[in-house]
Symmetry: C2
Subunit: 324 residues, 2 copies
């Protein structure tokens, strides 16, 4: 049995808990939280401990599944945890991955631990598709579309506007762009042509909706380059939408082997629950990290480094027989 | 530069030749054929040698890309070639892969060579999808659909019928089945419900078409379990259809993380040229085999064993920066 610890119990922690429970070859040593352990009632009856206790489990946990956020939790904590434990995380700030990688590599090597970073669906499953598709169809073009799904960063940005009580933002791929890519037209798409953004905003009584809508639509980086729809709704409506955490997207590669012959490769995900699916991917890579660590591997790995067979609880002969 | 040899120059050999030509990090030492080398005019101006000459290139070729068929060429020749060379092949007789694997493993280990087997799109890219999807969504169901595309085995079977001059058979996934899977209905599909078979048959003058159609439709294993359409056409029409080697298919996994939340993962390929795309995949794995062999790896590997980064000519840092 692979012994795992779950660090953090938000939406992702809950998803990981469900996935670990489903894995017949794993047992959960505990969920570790910075909150009062008594205040947490996990979806599966695993023991809950304070983070302070984690250190005392050194040697009893094969891998920690880190369920903190990329903005502060992971950059602050992963290096420290790596001194005593193997880790898997879902660090997803694309631009900062190389820096994050470097910050962990030395610690892991020095302490003989292994860290799989940026695991989930993007980065993660989508990265696998981009890399594989590019390698097998070198003369081609990549397209990644996200959605329909909630962007946490964009929702946060709206909430910071004066007069906004709560807000949720959906990223939506444009049908016309998807169709053009699927038709093998190899279009050059601007940011505006790929995705649109739809916002549902609850404002304070008497707030200037016109000003708020303008501030959203003109916000640089976040909205200015997109067609943005702003809907004003009640706080209750926003709250209800926040319960539904569905997401998904598409990775395409369209290219040629000769002038005459073109090919279209497509991966698509339709996810009812972003955190539950991400948690499930994290758990599969937890299995891989535990195994690779036992074989002596140390340092930082990404989805590009891990042979896929390590993700499955199936025996290699069965994998070949049933899935190859 | 990675030095490759191409063994065999049929449709697949031609596809591999195009792919090797496109790979900036590869050079082709030669195309090796059992035919008269003078009779071959390759699509790219690589040297062509008789198979007898291959042995003399020992030590000068990093990897052989084997372009022979799975029925006789590969089972007969690969073990022998592995004594002196690393190899990649597209062995695709699913049921016989374990046996083929075992027949090569000992030779490769004894001779310090490396062999990647069953590389292409199915087995190959589709196997990666089946394995990855299953690992990240363990509570679910797999579906693989092939087509629309030509099945060589089924075309051959028709050609063996008395009175048939030439024939081509297309495997076509049934729209209704695809739609049901895409809708997340997790259907249980019979063979007949998944695919249909359409045949184009040229017969000899005066042949009994009714008898031939009956023989096709009732042929056990090949057609009896399918809805089969038989069209009688001219020899020229069959020949023209045989020029077009498009294919493709779909791998789905549909499953749940909780009772409430389901997820749908889909990979699809639309290929104008089956042999050119297969050749492109073979070439990418040729790169991986050459590199892994340099690192000291020996034995037999499949797509489940090879870390994806080995497939790309890109530097690891660039992969992380651009594709993760």
């Amino acid at each position: 049995m692979i012994k795992v610890g779950i660090v953090g119990y938000g939406n992702l922690g809950r998803g990981v808990t469900l996935a670990v429970d489903m894995a017949k070859d794993m047992e959960c040593v505990g969920i570790f939280t910075r909150r009062d352990p008594e205040s947490i009632n996990p979806v599966v009856n695993f023991p809950v401990y304070s983070m302070d206790k984690l250190q005392s489990f050194k040697g009893e946990i094969d891998v920690l599944l880190l369920c903190g956020g990329s903005a502060t939790d992971l950059p602050k904590n992963t290096a420290n945890l790596l001194k005593d434990f193997n880790t898997v995380d879902s660090f997803d700030t694309h631009a900062k991955i190389p820096e994050y990688y470097d910050s962990l590599e030395k610690v892991a090597k020095e302490n003989g631990t292994l860290s799989a970073i940026s695991i989930g669906w993007d980065p993660g499953v989508f990265s696998i598709a981009r890399m594989l598709f590019g390698a097998v169809l070198p003369n081609g073009k990549d397209y990644t579309f996200w959605g329909k799904g909630v962007s946490q960063g964009h929702s946060d940005a709206i909430r910071r506007i004066d007069g906004v009580k709560n807000a949720i933002q959906y990223t939506i791929p444009k049908e016309q762009a998807l169709e053009s890519v699927r038709a093998g037209e190899n279009p050059t798409l601007t940011t505006r042509e790929k995705h649109m953004r739809e916002c549902f905003v609850a404002v304070e009584d008497g707030a200037d909706k016109e000003r708020i809508e303008k501030e959203i639509k003109e916000m640089p980086n976040y909205f200015a380059d997109y067609d943005t729809i702003v809907n004003f709704v009640s706080e209750e409506e926003v709250k209800e939408m926040q319960q539904k955490l569905s997401h998904g997207g598409f990775v395409f590669r369209s290219g040629n082997t000769t002038d005459k012959n073109s090919h279209l490769l497509e991966l698509s995900l339709k996810l009812d629950s972003n955190p539950e699916f991400t948690g499930s991917v994290l758990t599969a890579y937890g299995r891989a990290v535990a195994r690779l660590s036992k074989e002596g591997k140390t340092g930082v790995v990404t989805v590009f480094d891990v042979p896929l067979k390590y993700l499955s609880p199936m025996d290699e002969k069965d994998l070949i027989k049933n899935l190859l």
